[in-house]
Amino acid sequence: MPETILQMQSINKSFPGVRALHEVSLNVYQGRVMALVGENGAGKSTLMKVLTGIYQADSGNICYQGKNCVFSSPKESQDEGISIIHQELNLLPELSVAENIFLGREFTRWSGRINWPKMKQEAHYLLQRLGLSLDPARLVGRLNIGTQQMVEIAKALAVNAKVIIMDEPTDALTDTESQSLFRIIRELRAAGCGIVYISHRLAEIFTVCDDITVLRDGEFIKEVPAKDTHEDEIIEWMVGRKLTEQYPREPGSGEQQTLMVVNDVSGPGVKHASFELHKGEILGVAGLMGAGRTELMKIIYGANPISQGTITLNGQDLNCSSPQQALKAGIAYISEDRKGEGLVTELSVGENMVLSALKSFSRQIGVINKTKEQEAITQFIQRLQVKTPSAHQLIKYLSGGNQQKVAIAKGLLTFPNVLILDEPTRGIDVGAKKEIYLLINELKRSGMGIILVSSDMPEILGMSDRILVMYSGRLVGEFESQNANQELIMRYAVGRTTEEEYV
């Protein structure tokens, strides 16, 4: 039995209103790679934040090298030899490779002057160890993402890390770069490091990992040696949750009248996507984070440039190069990022609602007809049951669910034919979710074509008439919802069907 370097036991962590981790355990063994898998929101990142001292656990035990430890800051855990390589790289592009590697721990002479020759030499050794022929004096910003990732790893090695955590390290890498990363992981493993490898690409996990820990909904499900299991079993453990929520599903109208056709569309993060949307239909789009779902929606909405392909709405060619044109043509998009891209937090509920449709409440030369505006606002506050003391309330004081209703109202006020909802129920309590589902159904009855992008698998299954699955920028599967189940969708979402590409 290999030696355990790090043991996290019965970790609990709650945030106001959410239980993020419940009795979670994780073991990291010397000279082995531990995979940490789970759906979006399963608690992987939270667990790593607890480990590295960004969050403090409410209860539980962290045993590191035989001693009980509590880390109160990332610096403390790093000093003890626990390094994390985040999904987004934390490098300073305007500094050299050597400066980045030894940031905060520069070698100095007695006078306080930096000892450049030593810095470069040490950096050179580290890079050599990673099999990288790279001039330590080069600026990090000039390197490609893959090499930057290597610099990040060199940084982890420089602190003599005994435990290295990699959070989705291959997301930004090409296949060749991924291959050399795997080679380095094997070398680190041979050198006796314990590695935690977080990824949703199951094929990779079976390539580099020795053990697998599965989390689901903040709970520890299982730890198994990789050789004793297979991908389908892992998927089953990842999604094994029951459909606890009720979805007010409504049968489709049956008649399939084509509303929108997306044909071979490519753009940033999207490759050759083709699909059809019918009138009075809810089309679910599933996939993991970074699969290109939001990117595809933004291309349709004109917010991202289209590099190839055509989109037709009601038989007419659409060429939206801005959201303005899309809204005019009858496409509305409600962003997944309410605070960043959806709402203007310093404006009131009413002002946010009418922002997209303000033209229809204006007299000549852009003077707002406040009576007409107020009528529409009052009507939509009632129709969507937005809980707010008044239309003049600043939107930032509303709960997430009510903010989301206002965001949807903003789209509805333009009276669209196609409504794209990107993660419409993320971070919303159960009651408000139900109300939003009912609203979606009502819109479906009225003949609107609805695209529902969601990471919440039961939601997709419970609401959609048809389901599309995306994986690394491509549409890889399409199902009638009665033929779909969580395992099937997850298998497509983790690229199980395209596994051949990896080997």
């Binding site: 959201p323 309330q393 600043l394 004081y397």
Partner: protein, 329 residues
């Protein structure tokens, strides 16, 4: 700034009583600061409250206040315009030479305002289409237009001349209607216009939205570039109006006119509680801010403070006001 729950309708007396409640005065700190300032100054020099002096203050404030209205629009979009002083000088020079050629006053004013808008639009295009930071774009414009002014005037003042047209034109800066100076009327019109734009037009709503969250505004189907273009053009037009008033008052355009005015305008906007980060602020606040600066200038003169110390005193008051504002947020 905004109470979570909007008050329901109250009778008008109740409304006014509420407006002057301690609570409300603390919320409208800039107004409180203005009252305190007036109280202190009139204590030291009762002459301050004389009608003539008050009108004088308003007239002196008008130029900065008019520029500050344009600056408020720009700052609400999370931008800044450093070029207003140079635009003022160049517009003034253009206007003075038009009047010098005996172009009818109305035509001269119209052409000058148009030129001012175009100068603002130049910054606007660079910011909206060239994606250049407003600070840099308008810094360039500031230097450029000052240079053009110097070339255009050959570094010398341009007189409006000695003829009937020049006399008519001078009325804009020196005239009185019903005992109140003409520039004060112009200031009132500009503030009224600014208030109307911000609170009753689509443009105003978009200005707040753009300053509050640019990507959300863009994704709401609003042409953000156009808004920026319009706002900087308006700011340039108002700087030109200020230039017209300054020229009319002196019957000549100075090539160095308006130097440093951008900072007075920014100070007025910030004193009025508008956030430099954009999206938050009120035009009424800017009026109060401009008045504070105007009164400060006037009072320090009345109190016989030397002009060297005046700058220090002004800096201190502005710093204090802004500190109080930041800390209470």
């Amino acid at each position: 700034m905004n109470s979570p729950v909007q008050s329901t309708k109250k009778s008008s007396t109740e409304h006014w009583v509420q407006w002057f409640s301690v609570e409300n005065l603390i919320r409208h700190k800039s107004f409180l600061a203005l009252l305190i300032l007036v109280a202190i100054v009139s204590l030291f020099n009762p002459q301050f409250l004389a009608v003539d002096n008050l009108l004088n203050i308003l007239r002196q404030t008008s130029i900065n206040a008019i520029i500050a209205v344009g600056m408020t629009l720009v700052i609400l979009t999370a931008g800044i315009d450093l070029s207003v002083g140079s635009v003022l000088a160049l517009s003034g020079a253009i206007c003075a030479s038009l009047i010098g050629y005996e172009v009818p006053v109305i035509a001269a004013v119209f052409i000058t305002l148009l030129m001012g808008s175009l100068m603002g639009a130049c910054s606007g295009v660079v910011i909206a289409k060239g994606k250049v930071q407003p600070f840099i774009a308008t810094l360039v414009a500031m230097t450029l237009f000052r240079g053009v002014t110097m070339v255009f005037t050959d570094g010398r003042p341009i007189s409006t001349g000695l003829h009937h047209t020049a006399d008519q034109f001078a009325w804009l800066g020196t005239g009185y209607v019903l005992g109140i100076p003409v520039p004060v009327y112009l200031m009132a019109i500009v503030f009224g216009g600014g208030y109307f734009i911000l609170h009753h037009t689509r443009l105003g709503r978009y200005i707040y939205a753009l300053g509050g969250n640019e990507s959300a505004t863009r994704l709401s189907g609003i042409n953000v570039d156009n808004i920026k273009l319009i706002v900087y053009s308006l700011c340039g037009m108002l700087a030109a109006l200020a230039g017209i008033i300054a020229t009319a008052r002196l019957a000549s355009a100075q090539p160095t006119a308006g130097a440093g005015y951008e900072l007075d305008a920014i100070a007025a906007v910030v004193l009025g509680g508008t956030s430099l980060a954009g999206g938050k602020g009120r035009i009424v606040g800017t009026l109060i801010g401009a008045l504070i600066i105007g009164i400060l200038n006037n009072a320090l003169n009345l109190l016989d403070v030397s002009s060297y110390y005046q700058m220090i005193a002004k800096a201190t008051v502005i710093l204090l006001a802004v500190l109080v504002d930041t800390r209470s947020k």
